[in-house]
């Protein structure tokens, strides 16, 4: 008998299709794993009853010959997606008790495709964080542990903000999860947890029903244990939504079919400006290995220039907080969530938001408020939007000479919970390699590519052209094959 929690999306799909397993068995096995791994604190809300009911219904649909693309596959859902009737918190105290009366477009598409919801995954509060330590519901633990070195014996962060989604997939609690990525929130935790994470092109997946952090950057995407699984998931999540003005009206290609292409004829860009001072040797080595793998597989390596790389992160830390300060204004204790009484209305607002938002969220809302306030708009926000234009132009220029761009995903492996907590900028630097693609709206993927000296996973990052997820996935598959990443975190 196969261990059902070892199955990836594609494998489970095939066994379900053959009638060898039932969704209720597959789901039950994952619910068991979920219960066994509560130590990870990967879920804010577990929904076992809903999961079993959905699995039963899925089995019935399959029996009736109506199977969808993800029929019967259980998944974890980042708690940023509004799910009808199920607590949705965005990892924040301020959404205390909030049960949406509606379902996000992306999750609804997955349910229509037959997927089964295991629960709502923990995350950094309002998706603001890179270590999943800002959640009101406590930090998530990375299932990986360091074999040696200073991190040995310590609980590690899973990365963030989609930390619960990533930990859950890495720990075999779910074959796949959905997350959101604003500056690296899918890719960086994927790298920290040794799994695959995709941020699609901005506009590819609908944002409707996803609690907004930074509207011009937020994108939903899958976290899985293989590139193929990511392609299958993405195919079900993507597509035009008339309810999102920034969703693109373009046909969704068959992503799974695009994996077969191989590296022949592929031009892989290597941006010289990514060689940052003080990049750890292990990261540099991994990147070098990635270049070699592409070359060995028949791709052509091209040096490209992205001169504004070092400005992407500070640019992000103006634009994202500015948008967030406005997006989070609706959490005022009037229509939903937490209300903390006060002497008068303003006092109620201030108490509610003072107690409802955690420290990092407050920090970013205040930064955003500051950069938009009278007299500062031009110097900060307007300048950042101009720099953003130039960053996007740099990518356009680079993509004249290459089809994908290869970089490391993160500047380090996972670090112990509690580190970098009182140094916001050190924490922000986690996203240094992922943010540039976010600023340009480009699709990007992190693929587990090796282990560092302490035995912790490291990811490589492939950036594609806008709406060319196919070539990005094809390149990712090349890395995946060459890396042959079989390491796995210890069992509980």
């Amino acid at each position: 008998m196969v261990d059902l929690t070892e199955l990836g999306v594609a494998e489970a799909r095939d066994l379900l299709a053959n009638g060898e397993i039932l969704s209720r068995e597959l789901t039950a096995a994952h619910l068991e794993a979920m219960a066994a791994r509560r130590d990870l604190n990967a879920f804010i809300t577990e929904t076992p009853e809903r999961a079993l009911a959905m699995a039963e219904a899925s089995d019935e649909r399959r029996a009736a010959g109506e199977a969808g693309a993800l029929e019967g596959i259980p998944i974890a859902v980042k708690d940023l997606f509004c799910t009808e009737g199920a607590l949705t918190t965005a990892g924040s105290h301020i959404l205390q008790g909030f049960a949406p009366t509606y379902e996000s477009t992306v999750s609804a598409k997955l349910w229509r495709a037959g997927a089964v919801m295991l629960g709502k995954a923990n995350m950094d509060e309002f998706a603001m964080g890179s270590a999943n330590v800002t959640s009101y519901y406590g930090p998530v633990k990375n299932p990986w542990r360091a074999r040696s070195g200073p991190s040995a014996g310590k609980d590690l962060v899973p990365g963030g903000s989609s930390g619960g989604s990533a930990a859950t997939v890495a720990a075999r609690v779910a074959p796949a999860a959905i997350g959101t990525d604003t500056g690296g929130s899918i890719r960086q935790p994927a790298s920290f947890c040794g799994i695959v994470g995709v941020k699609p092109t901005y506009g590819r997946c609908s944002r409707w029903g996803i609690v907004a952090f930074a509207s011009s950057l937020d994108q939903a995407g899958p976290l899985t244990r293989s590139v193929r699984d990511a392609a299958i998931m993405l195919g079900a999540m993507a597509g035009h939504d008339p309810r999102d003005s920034t969703s693109v009206d373009m046909a969704v290609p068959d992503y799974e079919a695009s994996l077969a292409g191989g590296a022949q004829g592929l031009r892989v860009g290597v941006p010289k400006e990514y060689r940052l001072d003080g990049m750890p040797a292990e990261i540099e080595d991994l990147w070098q290995r990635g270049r070699q793998w592409f070359e060995d597989a028949g791709a052509e390596l091209v040096e490209v220039s992205l001169p504004l790389t070092k400005y992407a992160l500070p640019c992000y830390y103006i634009i994202a907080p500015a948008e967030a300060s406005s997006n989070l204004a609706r959490y005022d204790g009037v229509r939903y969530g937490l209300r903390v009484p006060g002497d008068d209305l303003i006092d109620m607002y201030e108490n509610t938001r003072g107690q409802g938002f955690g420290i990092e969220v407050q920090r970013r809302v205040l930064i955003g408020t500051y950069v938009l306030s009278a007299g500062y708009y031009d110097a900060y926000y307007l300048q950042a939007q101009k720099v953003r234009t130039r960053i996007a132009e740099d990518f356009d220029q680079a993509f004249k000479d290459c089809d994908v761009i290869l970089t490391p995903t993160a500047p380090s492996a996972a670090f112990p919970i509690g580190e970098k907590m009182d140094d916001p900028i050190a924490m922000y630097l986690n996203d240094i390699f992922t943010v540039p693609a976010s600023m340009a709206g480009l699709p990007a993927i992190s693929i587990p590519a090796g282990l560092d000296g302490a035995g912790l996973p490291l990811g490589l990052h492939v950036i594609g052209r806008a709406f060319d997820e196919e070539t990005m996935l094809r390149a990712a598959r090349v890395i995946e094959e060459a890396a042959d990443f079989t390491a796995r975190p210890p069992a509980a």
Binding site: G97, F98, A99, P100, T101, T201, G203, S216, P242, T246, V248, D249, L308, Y311, P314, C315, Y317, I318, S325, D332, G333, V334, R335, Y336, G337, L338, R339, P341, G342, D344, L345, M348, Y349, E350, R353, G354, F357, Q362, R363, L366, I367, T369, Y370, V371, S373, G375, A379, Y380, L382, Q383, A384, Q385, K386, V387, R388, T389, R390, A392, P424, I425
Partner: protein, 95 residues
């Protein structure tokens, strides 16, 4: 305006976030530090550069002028911390 305690008090008021008096000073340092770091953007030459309005090329989508939504007050009020007779209620606003 340097990002000092007074500024933090002012922007916290604008953002409707109560910051305990003891947090003002450390928060001012943290924020000043971040702002100091993002100010390196000033080095980038943006002469004649248009600010970004849309990261991917697309045109604004529109809806038709049909009533397709609403008429579900229960849904609107379902999560209200306080409601009465079909209204949300808040501490009295003095005009």
């Amino acid at each position: 305006m340097a990002l000092d305690k007074q500024t933090v008090r002012r922007i916290a008021r604008l953002a409707r976030i109560k910051v305990p008096v003891g947090r003002l000073e450390p928060l001012a340092r943290e924020l000043a530090n971040i702002i100091g770091w993002v100010e390196q953007l000033g080095e980038v030459d943006t002469e004649g550069v248009q600010p970004m309005t849309s990261v991917v090329h697309m045109t604004l989508k529109a809806r038709g002028d049909q009533v397709t939504d609403g008429f579900y007050r229960d849904k609107v009020l379902a999560n209200a911390p306080e409601a009465d007779h079909g209204f949300f209620t808040v501490p009295k606003v003095l005009e």
